[in-house]
């Protein structure tokens, strides 16, 4: 096949012309007062929970403090260390935020190589003077949704509740441990109110992924088939798949609203599913963590070390009325809902919650108070052995 020099020449000239035209100088923006890098793992953006929250918080800080935010998404796990290292090497970032446990090794290595660079990592502890490690007490928040789930499932006559999890990392053990404790506590609270213990059981699966949405749908379908009344999403973007399965189940019964319900995670996901398919969400304020860290760098108060965000400082929590409006803006920004849907979603949500008897909501609020005051200590797990111990303490089998 003879290549035509003419054709090549024409293409070349055309491209140069187009590029030339595109080189119209952009309007100069105000010089940023600093730069912050946000490095994400392979799960990436668009999960409407964990990673999007990290982005949201840093974005707000950038807007409030006049910073420039650069987002770096990792295409594969081999990119973790190069991405963090590249950012550190460029010496142009005041702070490098790494969102997620999977970036631990990368941050640990880069922090050693660049001791003058400030790092922050979420969900993991890296012991270095230039690294701020922010962890959450997901077990406390999960206990609240576990109690809610157990009582609501019993109220609607479902024998099980479910949990769809991601990869078996220590962070997820926090969720599972708290959830188990909560379900058990919810069963006992129900027994106190109604004189019979419903013995709501737990169906759980570790899908092994934080990015394959289809696995979330499969896992949820299997749980719904075994009569799970609520499914807790503990795998970021997989919640989108979980909700698809739940929506199909609801529509197959000729209804529009749940039960069965999903329980959202990290962000307030109650608005998803038209406001009446996600009963509650376990909020993990990753956005606040990123905001606080950025603020600390701007104000010069940044310190390396451990920061624990629990129920008492609203680092975690169960979704309540005021959060919903704030997070609907999140959904609008992501293009999932429009501003016109807002009123409908809010009224659906209020209906959904009103149909759950108030004694259940009071019990959950009571549990929250007891955890904050320290009367109740929610079990936690960081290793597989500890998780197995919690599992044998709260087997939740039927």
């Amino acid at each position: 096949m003879k290549h035509s020099p003419k054709l090549t020449g024409i293409i070349f000239v055309a491209v140069v012309l187009v590029i030339g035209l595109a080189m119209i100088p952009a309007v100069a923006e105000a010089a940023p007062k600093g730069k912050i890098a946000v490095v994400l793992d392979v799960g990436g953006r668009g999960d409407l929970s964990f990673n999007d929250m990290g982005y949201k918080g840093t974005d707000k800080a950038a807007a409030d403090f006049g910073l420039q935010m650069v987002e770096i998404q990792s295409a594969s796990a081999s990119d973790y260390l190069p991405n963090v290292r590249n950012a550190a090497r460029s010496k142009s970032f005041d702070l490098i935020i790494s969102v997620g446990f999977l970036l631990t090794d990368a941050v640990a290595a880069a922090a050693k190589e660049y001791p003058d660079q400030k790092f922050m990592i979420i969900d993991s502890v890296v012991e270095a003077p230039n690294v701020m490690s922010i962890v959450f007490k997901e077990n406390e928040g999960s206990a609240l949704v576990g109690a809610l789930a157990a009582m609501v499932a019993a109220h609607y006559g479902y024998p099980y509740v479910g949990a769809v999890l991601g990869i078996e990392i220590p962070v997820l053990f926090h969720f599972e441990a708290g959830y188990r404790f909560g379900i058990d506590w919810g069963n006992k609270a129900y027994a106190q109110e109604k004189d019979t213990n419903p013995n709501t059981g737990l169906l759980y699966t570790y899908t092994g992924t934080f990015s394959d949405i289809a696995k979330g749908k499969e896992a949820t379908k299997a749980m719904l088939a075994q009569k799970a009344g609520l499914v807790y999403n503990v795998a970021g973007p997989l919640g989108i798949g979980d909700l698809q399965a739940i929506t199909e189940d609801i529509k197959a019964k000729g209804k529009e609203a749940g039960p069965p319900f999903m329980i959202g995670v990290d962000a307030n996901q109650d608005w998803m599913g038209d406001g009446h398919r996600v009963l509650a969400s376990m909020l993990k304020r990753v956005d606040n963590a990123c905001y606080n860290a950025s603020e600390a760098v701007v104000k010069g108060t940044f310190k390396g070390g451990l920061v624990v965000m629990g129920l008492d400082v609203q680092g975690v929590g169960i979704s309540k009325d005021p959060d919903l409006l704030d997070f609907m803006e999140f959904g609008i920004g992501a293009g999932k809902i429009t501003a016109a849907d807002k009123t409908k979603i809010v009224s659906n949500w209020k209906n959904m919650r009103a149909q759950v008897p108030s004694w259940i909501w009071n019990a959950v609020a009571d549990l929250e108070k007891q955890i904050i005051s320290g009367k109740i200590s929610v079990p936690n797990a960081n290793t597989l052995d500890e998780m197995k111990a919690v599992r044998s303490k709260y087997p939740l089998k039927r």
């Binding site: 096949m1 590029i19 998404q73 991405n83 590249n86 090794d105 990869i167 078996e168």
Partner: protein, 369 residues
Amino acid sequence: MQDREMGFAGRIEELNKTVIAGVVGFAVGALIMILYGYDPISAYTALFSGAFGDLYSFSESLANATPLILTALTFAIGFRGGMFNIGAEGQLYLGALAAVTVSLFHLPSGIGIALSIIFAILAGAIWSLPVAILKAARGVHEVISTIMLNWIAQFLAFYLIAKILVDPLRAEKTISVAEWGRLPLLVPGTSLSCGIFVSLFAAIIIYLLLWRTTIGFDIRAMGYNPLAATYAGIEKWKIILFVFITGGFTAGLAGAVHVMGRPPTYAVYGGMPSIKGLGFEGLAVAMIGRNHPIGIIFAAIFFGGLLAGGRMMQLFSQVPLEMVRVVEGTVVLFLAIPELIRFFSFLRKVRIPLTFRIKRSQNKEGRQL
């Protein structure tokens, strides 16, 4: 276009085609970026400097290239033998896990590395055996059997990672390759290990194998014209076995050098996010490298450069990952075209019309076949 050994002029013409394809690919990528409002000049500057701009960047590119050379060789050997071996993916998973398994024991460094490599090579070869046997004995098309075995390998790997080789303290990954089992870093402060030498060595061995040995000649003959080769006395089943087993060696080796050479973790994560796709990327690399070991070396370095530079595109030009992938894909697609054209014209000329040729010859007077 003649499909036989080319002289020097012929090779230059082929190289020309690849270069032009590359230029067109980059131009189209630039067009797409402009359409979406990104600045291609800044993006490509970041891309090229991030790929080859300094020692750090070049090391990152080479580090990316290391496993790709090997998986590309797997495909290329098959292609030269007239087969479509896409089993590198599954074989490399098992090769990586085999290398990790050796770390369960305590061994001195030299032996440890050698043993890990041997285990990995064997794992890859064992996994390619079913494909070879099925094809030789029952004529099962290798595309089907390799894809099926890739899936089986994936789930087997998931099981091994989560239950057998799992790190008791960090449940999301396997145990790390022990210190003595790691390939030393070639350039400190980068991801580049001595694994690159292993890959280059393998490429040279495969080149010598295919072009300087009898069995290599037989493989290539079988690839050009299976009927003529069989008529000349080359036994097909021997070629099949040899091609797939050798392919299995290189694929298993790819998994091993990746897990033994890549900082910081030196382990396989649950879900295998760091080694997934290396097999199929190797396919693209083989196509770009025209299925020749030396071409593959350059193509792999180019591909590795695209990946390393792509990271810089995100960092410095704020081009989002999705757009980086679009540009990478566009460039690779265009670069693969010259080889695809050769492959399809080869098919048209030899395999399908063979029956027509036989019929036509018999109609001519005096001609017999």
